[in-house]
């Protein structure tokens, strides 16, 4: 049974690879054809619910309405179509039947929202429902009830994140309601004008008729006039109530800005901003003739009158209305987008963000919420590259477990113990004097959303983001990362599978048939690759095979982190019991936590396909997000099969412990729009597609193995010295790759300014070097190198001449980067190297943390004023710094790195301070350090 299952798991994967192989020569097109995608619905790998008949298999958002014509009906779902085997109509009826309008007041009044949670334990469907009402002049009682529900199979998500979901829902509804109120107000105003106009007309007619003395008609007229009067008073009352509630000027301005922007753009683009499936409706409703009067076309085109939220009533030409005391119900009721105008656009956008954020697994959300503390306060966070926060200098200072969430406080220590035993992350020894900080190193790892908005996830068991990027890269035919690179990725995935399998045996390295089969399979299809790539890939396979004998060794040789986990597992896991952190979590919670973790790995792998899709979609300019379940990846399927096995086995022992360990290092992506906007201002006008496509730090392994003295360049980046990579036009690709790889070390990656340029035709001015830290420059062939680089640049910047393979820079003499340099050769996998880099960065950051708190903001950090000379003050400060650095075990060049990191944070803090102080209109300039005290050398590499 097991055997069969395993094979079954690998079969589609095998097919996948073979199919890919056939395409190798056609330029690496990795888009899976439709017919290759598995047809059957792939169940969730580690789903907690047993596969029911019609259960809910994913989260979705449903907007439902109680239509006065049709009764409860669905308006839209996010994603489109909702969950495949879930009866939405039934559900709509159920949620809309909860009547929330409890008031018994007469006449028109504003209706309060209500939020309820709704659970159907039998079907394991849980929903958070937000009921609200929108106003429509044509609706019964002017009111149309709506409800937005977040529907999930995971009840804990609702319980754990009730506050967050509730808050976010309120925000969404705020947009909708405010937009709606504005629309309603406009419609009422127009209607009122119509009514007044009609009244005037009628009076005129009556006067003219009076002359003809038709008494019978007069009665009708008076009756009509009375109705009209009543209508006018009613409308005026409603308008009054509505106007009183329109107090949110901020939102109004926002809508006005949006409208202004849309007016500039072409109508085509404007209509694109409408969302999802209502597209058809929009088209349809635009053609519906306006129910009310029309605007004078002189100033505004017809097209704009339909949607403007801020019409100028002067241009409104009223028309007569049919007088009737009753209401018409056959009239076309407006769609949500018409009811809310810009509020709909904003609200839906927010709703989609909400979905993107909460649809992820509970465990991911939990880890994120733990890690979120690192983002705050923003200016004191130290970033490396685009997705690693080394440390936040002002976070968690008062906590017992400094600088981390306390949930897994003991794990890093565990990790480090393990890794020192396997000689993998041995830099711990140098830092052993500062255990308290060390222990938390790995936890401060964090990732966040990139500027483009796609989740960037790097630090984790599985680097899901790198793989699609590889695809992209290969598509671009950058020959440098040849097929080998891809195979490495593939083999990496395979190893993943193996690791998962081996986890099934809690007793450690035992040879068994299943594993053998897998390895053979792997070998088979790796062999089926082109001859050129064979050797290298086989190396990996060989390792796998060896590993079968002693699995722990195998893993260690390929990946440190996995290796540690594995060691942990194979060592018999007796320390499992000691594992709970003193500061947090009852046993029950831990249990729940573990439970959730079951889905984790599969989620990440499964996301692969989806990520790629989403990327393509984005490129196509569409907002629609495809449902991911439809095409769950083959990999996910295979892993899922393993998870079936896993469930059969012991289940909750060391395996979970490993998982728990892994969770510590799990990818985190922030989808929340607020964070995105505040911390990582998006940069839509980025005109270098290469830089966008490549993940930060991609190719670092290649660069580090190719150029011997690269550590000195890295050192330059880490002390804030601008690095200029110079290459002749034929080396453009290489220069770009170097810049892209080295980006991972940039500390100012996220800021508003761009801190790197992959390739430029002319050398930037020196004053730009305060912001630009990494520049690829094209040197014309005929211009000699020495004349191309002015002496000032040469003095203040590190220059890397790719053509001659020469570096002119300060020499690095220290521990951390040498360690990195020495380890590079041990790494075959780039993911692992980036992980190592990040862990080293975190290690360094932790030193910066101590330096900041114990030195900078203490009395020692402020100079004594009794020295008269600049040089005296300066040298006494230098002495104090070097004494302190020696105390915390930092020597030589490393001290400069730590000083720079601290200075970066200080500058960020000061800058933030000035930004938030409204009285100051100008900002202090950013400095450029000259590093006069460092001796620059020309080095071959």
């Amino acid at each position: 049974m097991m055997d069969l299952n395993m094979f079954g798991a690998d079969l589609p994967y095998n097919m996948y690879i073979q199919e890919e192989e056939s395409k190798v020569n056609d330029g690496w097109n990795f888009d899976l054809e439709d017919y290759l995608a598995p047809h059957s619905q792939v169940p969730h790998p580690w789903n907690r619910q047993t596969a029911g008949e019609s259960h809910l298999d994913m989260d979705f958002i449903l907007v439902a309405e109680f239509s006065e014509l049709e009764g409860p009906r669905e308006v839209l779902t996010i994603p489109r179509g909702g969950s495949s085997n879930f009866n939405i109509t039934d559900f709509s009826v159920r949620i809309m039947s909860l009547d929330h309008q409890t008031t018994t007041k007469q006449g028109f009044h504003l209706i309060e929202d209500s939020q309820v949670t709704f659970s159907e334990i039998k079907d394991s469907v849980f929903a958070f429902v937000h009921h609200f009402a929108l106003y429509d002049r044509h609706a019964r009682g002017y009111v149309r009830p709506f409800a937005i529900s977040y529907i999930t199979p995971d009840s804990r998500k609702l319980l754990q994140f009730y506050e967050e979901i509730s808050q976010q829902m309120k925000k969404v509804v705020r947009y909708l309601k405010y937009g709606n109120k504005l629309v309603f107000k406009n419609s009422l105003e127009m209607h009122l004008m119509d009514l007044h106009y009609t009244k005037a007309e009628m009076l005129l007619r009556m006067r003219s008729r009076k002359s003809s003395h038709q008494v019978s008609d007069e009665d009708v007229c008076y009756k009509n006039l009375r109705t009209l009067e009543a209508n006018i008073t009613e409308t005026q009352n409603v308008l009054h109530t509505i106007k009183l509630s329109l107090v949110d000027k901020k939102l109004e301005h926002r809508f006005a800005r949006l409208e202004e922007k849309a007016k500039i753009e072409t109508p085509r683009v404007k209509s694109d901003s409408w969302s999802l499936q209502e597209w058809e409706e929009i088209e349809a409703t635009y053609s519906v003739s306006s129910v009310s009067g029309s605007y004078d076309g002189s100033s505004l085109s017809d097209n704009t009158t339909g949607w403007t939220l801020f019409p100028d009533t002067r241009y409104y030409r009223p028309k007569t209305v049919k007088i009737s005391s009753g209401r018409q119900f056959d009239i076309h009721l407006q769609g949500l987008h018409e009811l809310c105008s810009w509020g709909h656009r904003e609200g839906m956008q927010k709703l989609r963000h909400l979905y993107q954020f909460f649809k992820r697994d509970m465990a991911v959300l939990q880890v994120e919420s733990n890690d979120k503390t690192f983002m705050d306060p923003g200016p004191s966070a130290l970033y490396f590259g685009e997705d690693c926060i080394g440390v936040n200098l002002l976070t968690g200072v008062d906590k017992k477990c400094m600088g981390c969430h306390c949930l897994q406080a003991d794990i890093p220590g565990l990790l480090f113990n393990k890794c020192s035993s396997i000689e993998s992350l041995s830099f711990k020894s140098a830092a052993s004097s500062f255990r308290s900080v060390n222990d938390d190193d790995a936890e401060s790892m964090k990732s966040a959303i990139s500027a483009t908005g796609s989740p960037i996830v790097n630090f984790g068991l599985y680097n899901e983001n790198d793989v699609p990027n590889t695809f992209e890269l290969e598509k671009d035919n950058i020959d440098l990362y040849s097929n080998n690179e891809f195979i490495r990725h593939l083999t990496f995935k395979i190893q993943q599978l193996d690791i998962d399998i081996s986890k099934d045996e809690p007793m450690g390295p035992i040879e068994n048939a299943e594993d053998r089969t897998t390895i053979d399979n792997v070998k088979k299809f790796v062999e089926s690759f082109g001859d050129g790539n064979k050797e290298r890939s086989l190396d990996d396979v060989e390792k796998l095979e060896e590993g079968n004998g002693a699995i722990s060794e195998m893993v260690v040789s390929t990946s440190t982190l996995l290796g540690e986990d594995f060691e942990e597992r194979s060592s018999g896991t007796s320390d499992h019991e000691d594992f709970t952190c003193e500061c947090d979590l009852s046993d029950v919670e831990t249990e729940g936590m573990r439970d959730r973790l079951h889905t984790l790995t599969a989620e990440n792998v499964g996301q692969l396909e989806y990520e790629k899709e989403a990327k393509n979609e984005k490129e196509a300019g569409s907002i629609t997000i495809a449902p991911e379940t439809e095409k769950t990846s083959v990999l996910a399927q295979s892993i899922k099969n393993e998870s079936m096995l896993e469930r059969d086995s012991e289940g909750m022992t060391s395996y979970d412990l490993i998982r728990l360990n892994i969770e510590n290092l799990i990818p985190v992506d922030f989808d929340s729009p607020e964070q995105e906007s505040t911390l990582f201002p998006s940069n839509p006008d980025n005109n270098s597609p290469d830089a966008d496509n490549l993940a930060c730090g991609f190719g670092i392994l290649h660069i580090m193995t190719k150029y011997a003295s690269i550590k000195h360049v890295i050192y330059s980046i880490l002390i804030g010295r601008s690095v200029i990579v110079v290459g002749t036009p034929d080396l453009e690709g290489e220069v770009k790759n170097i810049v892209n790889a080295l980006k991972i070390f940039l500390t100012s990656y996220h800021r508003n300014h761009k801190s790197f340029i992959p390739w430029t035709k002319c050398l930037p001015s020196l004053y730009k070097m305060t912001d630009l830290k990494l520049v690829g420059v094209c040197r014309p062939e005929r211009k000699p190198f020495d004349r191309f680089i002015p002496s000032a640049i040469k003095k203040l910047c590190t220059v890397f001449d790719v053509k001659r393979r020469e570096i002119f820079c300060p020499v690095y003499q220290g521990y951390y980067l040498s360690l990195l340099d020495n380890r590079v050769r041990n790494y075959k996998m780039e993911e692992m190297l980036t992980t190592l880099i990040k862990s080293i960065m975190v290690e360094i950051s932790s030193k910066a943390f101590i330096y900041f708190h114990s030195f900078c903001i203490g009395p020692a950090g402020v100079g004594r004023q009794d020295y008269k000379f600049l040089q005296q003050q300066s040298s006494s400060f230098q002495r104090r710094v070097s004494n302190f650095m020696a105390k915390i075990g930092v020597h030589d060049s490393d001290a400069h790195i730590i000083e720079f990191l601290c200075e970066t944070i200080k500058q960020q803090l000061i800058q933030d301070h000035f930004q938030t102080r409204a009285s100051v209109s100008h900002m202090p300039e950013r400095p450029l350090a000259t590093h006069n005290d460092l001796c620059c050398q020309m080095m071959k590499c």
Binding site: K795, G861, F869, L870, S875, I910, M923, L934
Partner: protein, 446 residues
């Protein structure tokens, strides 16, 4: 531009005799390890003026005056003052002494008075009529402006007197006052120096002022490029031919001729020994920027104390003592600022000794006290200053440098930039202080 390149090339050919010193490797004596690029100007920045220990003002050919905070290195305010290049600036105290006034003159024929604290124009004087070349404060709260004519202005900007000059080919380019009361001043107009004084005439109950020409002094061989008061009794002038003349402020007779050159025109009339700038220290020492080098003279003993003939690749535009005289900074058209001092094997120890004694910058620079200085007669006694550091940051000629003590040094140049040169350790300390005081305890300052 072409000429500059040409000149540079020419000079490099001359360097067979003496090569310009270069500095390699680490510069342990260079205290300026952090630089700030202060950007606002859109043309050559020619003037830099220190207002107080927190502020300095820059002005240039774009007609804009920018006030900079020298401690935080940020722009405080800017005035789009003139439509043509600003040619001269003058900082004076306001009427009630608590405000700083800045007077700017420009080739757009305007003189404007600014209140720096309030950041607004107080007066716009248009009666000058011609391009303004230089400004000088005279008597109390009055000032003289010069160009084609001499004008005397009251503190409220009222024109008090105009002195029409003879038909001359050149405008007055330099103005200095020669005595403490500021009532007598010397103008330099091409090769010629002229002495003027301001007389107050008491007419009934009103005082009126008048500019009177006192004396014309013997001409220089070439155009006068530098004019500086040395003491109450002495002033100095330097000219294109390299001559520095010392004049008595009482009799207005030449007392001494320093630095006479035989073949002063050099190759292709390049004037390689021209005097660009003279600064005075201790009322008796003259620091002169001569050609591509500099020299230090003693006006009492009339000796050359030390010199560096080839200090830069191009002409030295200005020089000043920085770090309390431990270093001499020279800036040049070659775009660099160089720091000169005495070589010592143990800078730390030397510094401690120097700090313990109340020495003047000259003593520190020459590493000798005045007592010893008076006894030594031969100029060979002092070694040639050594290049201790080079500040590279400008990508055009450096026009002016000013010293701000512990706040470092400021420079401006042809690349439209003002650069603040600071010590990174001091800046680190300052940042620590700011973080401690402001960021972490925001409640302290309200």
């Amino acid at each position: 531009m072409w000429q500059k390149l040409w000149r540079k090339g020419d000079q490099q050919k001359d360097e067979d005799k003496e090569v310009v010193e270069e500095i390699e490797g680490e510069e342990t004596c260079n205290p300026y390890t952090e630089l700030y690029f202060l950007q606002h100007h859109s043309d050559i920045v020619r003037h830099l003026l220190v207002i107080d220990d927190r502020r300095c003002v820059s002005a240039g050919d774009d007609g804009v005056v920018v006030v900079w905070d020298t401690q935080l290195c940020m722009k405080l305010s800017f005035f789009e003052a003139h439509s043509r290049p600003i040619t001269c600036m003058l900082s004076i105290d306001g009427k009630n002494k608590d405000s700083n006034l800045l007077i700017t003159g420009s080739s757009d024929k305007h003189i404007k008075v600014w209140n720096i604290d309030q950041g607004k124009c107080v007066q716009d004087i248009t009666e000058h009529g011609t391009s303004v070349k230089c400004l000088l404060p005279v008597l109390e709260n009055m000032f003289v402006s010069a160009g084609e004519q001499l004008h005397l202005w009251g503190e409220d900007g009222a024109l008090l007197d105009t002195f029409p000059l003879d038909k001359q080919e050149a405008d007055i380019s330099l103005l200095i006052s020669t005595n403490l009361k500021n009532e007598r001043f010397v103008t330099a107009c091409d090769k010629e120096l002229t002495v003027y004084s301001i007389k107050d005439l008491l007419d009934l109950n009103e005082t009126s002022y008048r500019i009177c020409q006192d004396k014309r002094l013997p001409e220089h061989l070439e155009a006068v490029r530098a004019l500086v008061p040395v003491s109450d009794k002495l002033f100095a002038s330097g000219s294109l031919d390299g001559t520095i003349l010392l004049w008595s402020s009482e009799t207005f007779t030449p007392l001494k001729k320093l630095n006479t050159m035989a073949d002063y025109k050099g190759k292709a009339n390049m004037y390689p020994y021209s005097v660009q700038y003279i600064a005075c220290e201790n009322q008796k020492y003259l620091l002169a920027a001569i050609g591509c080098g500099f020299a230090l003279f003693d006006t009492v003993s009339n000796t050359l104390l030390c010199r560096k003939v080839k200090a830069h690749y191009s002409k030295v535009t200005q020089l000043t003592f920085v770090c309390d005289g431990l270093l001499l900074a020279t800036c040049s058209e070659d775009g660099s600022i160089r720091l000169w001092g005495q070589k010592s094997h143990n800078p730390g120890e030397q510094l401690a000794v120097k700090a313990s004694m109340g020495l003047s910058p000259i003593e520190r620079f020459l590493d000798i006290n005045f007592g010893q200085l008076h006894h030594s007669k031969s100029p060979d006694h002092f070694p040639e200053p050594v290049l201790l550091g080079e500040c590279l940051g400008h990508c055009g000629s450096v026009m002016r440098i000013v010293d701000q003590g512990l706040e470092g040094m400021f420079s401006c140049g042809g690349d439209h930039l003002v650069i603040a040169w600071k010590n990174s350790e001091l800046q680190k300390m300052k940042r620590n202080q700011v973080i401690q005081e402001k960021v972490l305890n925001p409640s302290v300052i309200v």
